[in-house]
Amino acid sequence: MTWWRRLFRDRSPTCAEIRPLLSAFLDDQVTPAERARVTAHLTGCPRCQEDLATLRATVTALRALPTIPVPPALARRLAQTRPAPPARPLVPALQRASLATAALTVLLLLANGLLSPGPAATDLARPAAAPALPAPAPARPVEPGPEVAPAARALTAPTPRPAVGAPAAPAGEQSLSPARPADTQTVPAPAPPPAEPAWPERLLRPSPLRTLALVALLTSLLSGAAGLLLGRRRSAG
């Protein structure tokens, strides 16, 4: 045993050390060592005995407080409230569906190439091709449209498209000149397509992928909104 333990081994616990234990002592929630110390101290300490007695009286007084019956009005309210059923299963499912279809929308759009630099490439083709081929000027802007756009749409990777559109000045001339004899024949047919479909107009152009993307987008918006509304109604209810 260390020297200081030997020094203090016989010191009796002070009232200040015992008093915090009295409440637990009342409830028999003390360790055997603590119980021994408390009991030993109490036998010789009237002040702590008094402390214990007043604590006990306090607990007795509390236990003697009456149980208050539930007021009838409250009992009626409690019986009548039918809280909204836990929205828990539905709301998260809707939110998950919303996220999933949003992700699907993005994937479909990517696949469709709408997020690639397509319009820029085809825009380059148009001004480059226009001055290069002066003669059938009105027909000229139409050519890049039907020629380049279907080619561009067929490609899934964005990188080859600049190859089609960007070197439009030299190559465009090449690729378009053989078509020139056919211009006069093809011009009347593809007249309706506008000069170069601007990006919003490309969205409106029907295509299966684009339709799917739109449906997915709508679904994600609807399920997200439904999830929000149901969640809000539940917490307000």
């Binding site: 008093r19 915090p20 234990l21 009295l22 409440s23 637990a24 409830d27 929630q29 007695a53 007043t54 604590l55 006990r56 009286a57 306090t58 607990v59 007795t60 007084a61 509390l62 236990r63 003697a64 407080l65 009456p66 149980t67 208050i68 019956p69 539930v70 007021p71 009005a73 409250l74 009992a75 309210r77 409690l78 019986a79 409230t81 039918r82 809280p83 059923p85 836990p86 828990r88 539940r234």
Partner: protein
């Protein structure tokens, strides 16, 4: 007040399971079983019957919605934890507006076993009970909660630990401080001096 600690556990777990499936009747049975202890906890914590009623309703509402998260263990402790939180919320709201009539403690009444034929004594007991309640309200909420749970609701230390999400040691020291402070407050009320007189002809409960 007898301990509310031993409702028949088996049917209760069936009730809880059914309520979790959304059975309204099962949940109503749980409400009927626990509305008194929940209301009593709220009243002893808040001191106002209307606030206590609101907190009680709020507690059952939250309990219904949180049923999916109940993972077993003493259901009463789980429910009383929700009730205690509703009481804390009510106390926080109260700090932002002037206190309502805390002096009005209309519930104090004499329990059946204590009814005395002497009307004067009845009034006296009622006044004593109101005083005790007022002193309870003077405790810090954390201490008030453990004192109410232990000495009015009759919960064990272990159950209190579940309700407060505290270790046993914290429950023990908080209860010790709460009881000691309440004792000092009660002793300062001259009308309550009879509580601390040692009767000679009847032995104090252990």
């Amino acid at each position: 007040m007898e301990s509310q600690g031993d409702p028949v556990e088996a049917p209760e777990s069936a009730l809880v399971a059914a309520a979790r499936q959304g059975e309204a009747a099962a949940f109503s049975a749980l409400v009927a079983r626990y509305q008194t202890p929940v209301y009593n906890l709220a009243y002893r914590m808040l001191g106002d019957p209307d606030e206590a009623a609101d907190a009680t309703q709020e507690a059952f509402l939250r309990a219904y919605q949180a049923l999916g998260q109940y993972r077993g263990g003493p259901f009463r402790a789980w429910l009383l934890r929700i009730a205690a939180n509703a009481c804390y919320d009510s106390l926080r709201r109260r700090q932002r507006r002037p206190t309502a009539s805390l002096d009005r403690l209309p519930h104090e009444q004499v329990a059946g076993a204590q009814v005395s034929p002497d009307p004067e004594e009845v009034v006296l007991q009622r006044e004593h009970q109101a005083l005790i309640q007022r002193c309870l309200l003077a405790l810090p909420p954390d201490q008030r909660l453990v004192v109410v749970l232990a000495d009015i609701q009759g919960l064990s230390y272990e159950e209190i630990a579940v309700v407060t999400r505290s270790p046993l040691g914290t429950v023990r020291s908080r209860l010790s401080r709460g009881r000691a402070r309440l004792r000092d407050l009660l002793r300062a009320q001259p009308e309550l001096s009879p509580l601390f007189q040692r009767p000679k002809d009847r032995s104090l409960p252990p």
